[in-house]
């Protein structure tokens, strides 16, 4: 699940070199859209995923259009501060009573929880759904990036924006598409989060967003396999810390790991090969 959010970060960073701090909040909006479509309209699960992904994508494209595009030629820090501003705005705006409200909401289970035991390893169908959906999204992403025209455009823009523009790539369109695609993945991640930890509120995006970004950096930002690898390492190390040390140190350990990796390989584990960047 970290992987899905981390992918959004890594794609956006790969193309426009911007840490999109609002990404965690797009993830939150995805979870809330899913919440409403399950709670109010009792939609089937595929429709829920579609609504969350679509809604997040539209939101991200609007944000990119309104806030980031005018600043593309400005100093990078201005865009970064704007990203923080957008993030705060989304959090507090949706926390208003008129919008989603500041409370915690219980996310309804869309299906019965079943535990299976295969060869001494217990896992629930929730974990199964998460695994299947994540793998399917990754497969789809890999297809889009390496097998379609837009994907080729994305790779070209990440390599060199100006040259890509000269070669007839619609740079603005590609950047919008990247934001949308990243956000759709975050939206799917939001639904999965809601299913796995059945409690959501409007500030839930902060920590997962930060950790997903860390995962993306850990694996080498701009690289899709790196993001997945980083997310796997993060998830494992956090579970291990909770199991063997103490859960109060859980949030810290991921960053200790991050700093250690950065000192050893300053561009992340898989960050060397620049041609792999998306």
């Amino acid at each position: 699940m970290y992987a899905l959010i981390a992918l959004g970060y890594t794609m956006v960073y790969g193309i426009v070199r911007l840490i999109n701090f609002a990404h965690g909040d797009v993830f939150m909006v995805g979870a809330f859209l899913a919440f409403y479509s399950v709670e109010k309209y009792h939609l089937p699960l595929p429709a829920v995923f579609a609504i969350a992904a679509g809604g997040s994508a539209i939101l991200a494209i609007v944000i990119e259009r309104m806030a980031y595009r005018p600043l593309r030629d400005a100093p990078k820090i201005a865009a970064l501060i704007t990203a923080i501003g957008v993030s705060l705005f989304l959090e507090y705006f949706t926390a208003l009573h008129q919008v989603f409200g500041p409370n915690y909401y219980a996310f309804p289970r869309p299906f019965q929880v079943v535990s299976l035991e295969i060869g001494g390893i217990t896992f629930t169908n929730i974990q199964g759904v998460i695994l299947v959906v994540t793998l399917a999204s990754l497969g789809a992403l890999q297809y889009v990036v390496y097998r379609t025209k837009v994907g080729r455009g994305m790779r070209a823009v990440s390599h060199d924006v100006v040259t890509a523009g000269l070669m007839g790539v619609n740079v603005n369109g590609v950047i919008s598409f990247t934001f949308g695609l990243g956000a759709a993945l975050a939206g799917v991640g939001g639904v999965l989060y809601g299913i796995a930890y059945p409690q959501i509120n409007t500030f839930m995006g902060v920590m997962p967003g930060l950790k997903a970004f860390t995962a993306a950096v850990l694996g080498g930002i701009g690289s899709i396999p790196g993001a997945v690898l980083g997310a796997l390492i993060m998830g494992q190390s956090e579970t291990m810390t909770t199991a063997y040390l103490s859960s109060t140190y859980r949030d810290g350990i991921a960053f200790v790991l991050l700093i250690a990796v950065l000192l050893w390989k300053p561009t992340g584990i898989l960050g060397k090969t620049r041609t792999e960047k998306v």
């Binding site: 600043l71 501060i81 923080i84 501003g85 705005f89 507090y92 009573h97 991921a254 960053f255 300053p266």
Partner: protein
């Protein structure tokens, strides 16, 4: 006597400003709440000046400023707690001396830590440095949360209480004036020029014989020392410390102030710090109670609009006359 003249130049604004505020609050023209907010603004300004030195002048992208602020706050609070005690019936002079010592110790602790953190991490560049310092900020927050397990006085996740209320208007103003003086003189010295050279082009700076790594560590350490002193003042202003005051989101607050004011611009940082603090508190008063949550909706909007309109900060490269280099004054 240029020496005495320089001293007078520093002491006069301090005496005038703190005297005026003391007078106003003694006459009940300013209520204690606003006096406290003013002191908070001074503290925030000191910390923001430190970050401006790190990011604005040296160009090191640090997202861990609040952690150093926290280290200074906890160090100073612990020292005054040990040597003054919360009852505060000792001689005023001795208390003041201990407080000054604690503030400096807080700054020193932050500086030492910054040095220890900076030597390995400052080899990283731009965004990677940012994320490493952000990570450091989260680690420190976790340590503050668990601090009571190795030193019970620090309070851990429940917060640290029983800190003497020592920060007053004179202390806050004196701290701010001292910070402005030190930073102004630093950035216009050879050191400051070296830092700016590194910001502009690290390779060119190295080619001109500047030991870039050493200067980066110096800039980072000095900036963090300011955060430490500001933290000490903060601790003795609100007499209560909680780890959530020092988490990474607070680093963003300081960063926003520095960027809003303009990178490498002291005037902007000063104005933005005061505007930020007073705006936050002013909206608490100005908005009707039912709409108080709109505070944090309006502020990001304001922030986004400001960035869209003035992407290089409010003041660009213009400075108040007293903050300029001697050559231009």
């Amino acid at each position: 006597m240029p020496f005495l003249k320089n001293i007078a130049k520093a002491v006069l604004p301090f005496a005038a400003l703190s005297g005026l505020l003391q007078f106003l609050s003694a006459r009940d023209i300013l209520n204690p709440y606003w006096v406290q907010i003013f002191q908070l603004a001074c503290v925030v300004a000191i910390s923001a000046l430190g970050l401006n030195l790190i990011y604005g002048f040296t160009g090191l992208f640090s997202l861990g400023h609040a952690a150093f602020y926290g280290v200074g706050a906890y160090t100073a609070a612990l020292l005054t707690k040990l040597y003054v005690g919360a009852h505060g019936d000792e001689a005023v002079f001795a208390t003041g001396a201990v407080f000054l010592g604690s503030l400096l110790a807080g700054g020193l602790a932050a500086a030492l830590l910054a040095c220890a953190v900076g030597i390995p991490t400052l080899r990283l560049t731009s965004d990677y440095l940012g994320i490493a310092t952000l990570g450091f900020g989260v680690i420190m927050k976790v340590l503050f949360d668990n601090a009571d397990s190795f030193l019970p006085q620090l309070g851990g996740a429940r917060g640290m209480t029983g800190i003497a209320r020592l920060t007053g208007i004179p202390w806050a103003v004196a701290g701010l004036v001292a910070a402005i003086l030190v930073i102004r003189n630093l950035v216009h010295s050879t050191y400051g020029r070296a830092l700016v050279a590194i910001r502009e082009d690290e390779v060119a700076a190295a080619a001109l014989g500047i030991d870039t790594f050493r200067y980066k560590v110096i800039g980072f350490t000095a900036g963090c020392a300011f955060a430490g002193v500001a933290g000490g003042l903060y601790a003795h202003l609100y007499t209560f410390l909680h780890p959530s005051t020092f988490d990474f989101l607070k680093s963003f607050d300081v960063l926003m102030i520095v960027v809003l004011g303009g990178l490498g611009n002291l005037t902007g940082t000063l104005v933005a710090s005061f505007a930020w603090v007073f705006l936050l508190e002013g909206m608490r008063v100005a908005l009707p109670p039912d709409y108080i949550e709109f505070r944090w909706v309006l502020i990001p909007l304001l922030l986004i609009v400001t960035m869209l309109v003035r992407p290089r900060g409010l003041f660009g490269v213009r400075e108040f006359p007293f903050l300029r280099s001697k050559v231009y004054r």
